[in-house]
Amino acid sequence: MATKAEGIKDPYDLVVLGAGPGGYVAAIRAAQLGLDVACVESQSREGGLGGVCLNWGCIPAKALLESASLARRVKDDAADFGVRISGYELDIGAAVNRSRQVSDRLTKGVKYLFDKNGVMPIFGRGRLAGGMQVEVNLKAGGSSLISARSIIIAVGSRPKTFPGFEFDGERVISSREALELKRLPERILIVGAGSTGMEFADVFNAFGAKVTIVEMLPHVLPTEDEEIAGVVSRSFKKRGVTIKKDTAVKALDKFKTQLNVTVEGPGGDEMIECDLLLMAVGRTPNVEDIGLEGAGVQLDDQGWIKTDEFNRTTADGIYAVGDVAGPPMLAHKGSHEGIVAAEHIAGVAAHPVDRHNIPFCTYCHPEVASLGLTEKQAREDGHDVKVGKFPLSANGRALTAGAPDGMIKIVADAKYGEVLGVHMVGHNVTELIAEAGLGRALESTVEELASTVHAHPTLAESLMEAALATLGRPIHI
């Protein structure tokens, strides 16, 4: 029988709830700073750690996208490149297996990092038990009450859906099940054209499914710059993906042989037949049954845990980081918040995460990466905007890679040349956004971006050219 009677042991300096990218990074950073840290994780697979990102999110999804990219290159490009391949087959099951191997390797890596830094992993479900105590229902059975001087809540989020579209794990699924498909159905409908929806559309399309994607808002990737999203939209349509914008799902009828989904778009109601329905309409925080109320941890109007710039909640000594502390729900945002919270707890100078310097990446093809304000937002904020664009079709490296689709766009303030936003679409641009991030973090102006010597031939030259374009003097267009 589970009991609390074991008595309270010496408190840990820090107990972290959740070992995702917010929690495990916070735990390691705190241990580096000399704190005695435990990290409670309930959902891990076979002793691994890493949360949704490593297990059912970023990492396996990117592994599948890599398979999709290879499939497309074999199909569309290989012969042009002088590599004739005959008799190849696509096998989504094998692609999924590979993605699991990558995931397993990384989750075990986190366990290794815990050992190396002396973080104590506790496997079980943790819950705030009032005061500075955490009650853990241990995976191995029984429960344990541990005390802490500080607590970081990093319990993440889960996919959400609409009423009438409840997940059944088989035919109405979330990204989590989509990552473990054994075989690919013929017709797939994806609801939501955010980064998750677009990435899965890319994978399913490359593996031969007939994909339809519906989006309520007027353009795909609604948080991205409209012009950038347009490039992706055109590329998808060229490859045979059907995109329905300004369209909402209304009803779902399940039949033995297929699903009928009624949608309402600009042309009125329409019925879409499919075999699999992927709901990619956002995520909801895991705030239930972890003892928030009893501990005095308040939620904001949207249901996220309320935090300040150092990720302190409304309860003394309790912090929250990552998805549970509000959007953007990105692993790197959670990790950085984890570092801020750990450093704040350890009493070293912590620098809050600047929301405008968080990069957003979507790994569909062409890839999309961005940072800061879109052109529209910048104008709405009253900036005197200068835009510089450079098409990848004018970049040597992009042409050698056979990837001329895309552009880099810099949104700058005319007065001081402050870089307000950088928006990219094209081959490997998710690797290019880091330069823009460093530039923003150092408060570089377009002058510095333009005068930095960029190696030739690289895709990164396009960022320099876009900076030059804001100054009215690009060389290569």
Binding site: H351, Y416, G417, E418, L442, E443, S444, T445, E447, E448
Partner: protein, 434 residues
Amino acid sequence: MATRVVMSKLSPTMEEGRVLHWLKKEGDPVESGDVLLEVETDKANMEIEAMGSGILRNILVPEDATVPTGTLLGVIASEDEDISAILAEAEAHAAPSEEAAESQKAAGAEAVPAPQPTSPLQTASPAAAAQEQAEPVEEPAAQAPDARRVKASPLARRMAQERGIELRLVGGSGPGGRIIKRDIEAAATGGAPAFKAVSTELGPEPPYERVELSQLRKAIARNLAQSLGPVPHFFLTTEIDMGRVSELRSELNESLEETGLKIGINEILVKIAAQALLEHPSVNVAFAEDHIRRFTRVDIGIAVAIDDGLITPVLRDAAAKGLRQISTESRELIARARAKKLAPEEYQGATFTISNLGMYDIDEFTAVINPPAATILAVGAIREKPVVVNGAIEIRSRMRVTLSCDHRAVDGAMGAEFLATLRRMLENPLHLVL
């Protein structure tokens, strides 16, 4: 059109001024630019000029009276112009302000007007900033090298340059104290931490004779009350052999005889202290509540006794100047200090101060730090005294100096290391030629 003569705010800390004497009488014709009266402010005596021409119709504040800044002192108008409205307005204002003055007197120590925080920003005019930008080579010593040593983002630099904000006076909130956009924005809206007024509780009063405070005495009281109270002082004393400096000084003065220039011990002290501070930037600092300002230039204040108190004219960028220039400049500053003719920017913002009471035969003393600086060096008289050198007693010229440090910004070891360097340099004064 009538012209008002008002008690202008002649320095950033000035809240009231005393009319010393009127140079014009009621009924005198005045031209725009004529000096009308002399005013004593908290730091200097200054002249108020006519801003318009006509007849000085009325003198509203008599000599020796102290009034708050903004008070109407007189009216200039043409002979027949109706100025009754202006006079009525002045009367209406005078009544409450006199009351306020009375209640201030009654309240005693607590009623000392709260010192106005002096802005740490020396805001140059846009024209001056533009000129700097256009001709960076013209003043290499003054601006460019400093600007390069300050850690600041490119964006912050551009904003500061455009807004005429001196970067070295801005605290950086970025990683490693780097100055970033928000610091410039904060500086531009005046982010200086406000000083807290110090209240004093007095016990049962002993009999006393009341002596009115001069403006200068008020300023001294205000500034120094900001020091010993809130500033945790500690003191480090050392004794320095001045034999070689004295010799060097005699030689220098012999060689300079034809030029008429004479180098004093004080000027050598300024020069060497400045060089020692360059080696110990951690002592060339100010504590600014949420950060420490580590100055990248050495501006040395020289405490000067004047009739009614003391003032510290500041020799800017002393480390970059030669002895000859230090000597010329400091003599000129001291002369004007004694004549109470220093402009505020000439006596504010020292990064280090030297107070020498050697001429009063004081062997050693401790000086009170003049905020916002974090250090002050108190210098005693040079004495011939017996000293053990290599096991034998010798007669040597010795001087005792005491460094007062603000412990919030400077620690004992930092101060001691600085003093060790200062002593080494004074005992081996060849550094002067560097």
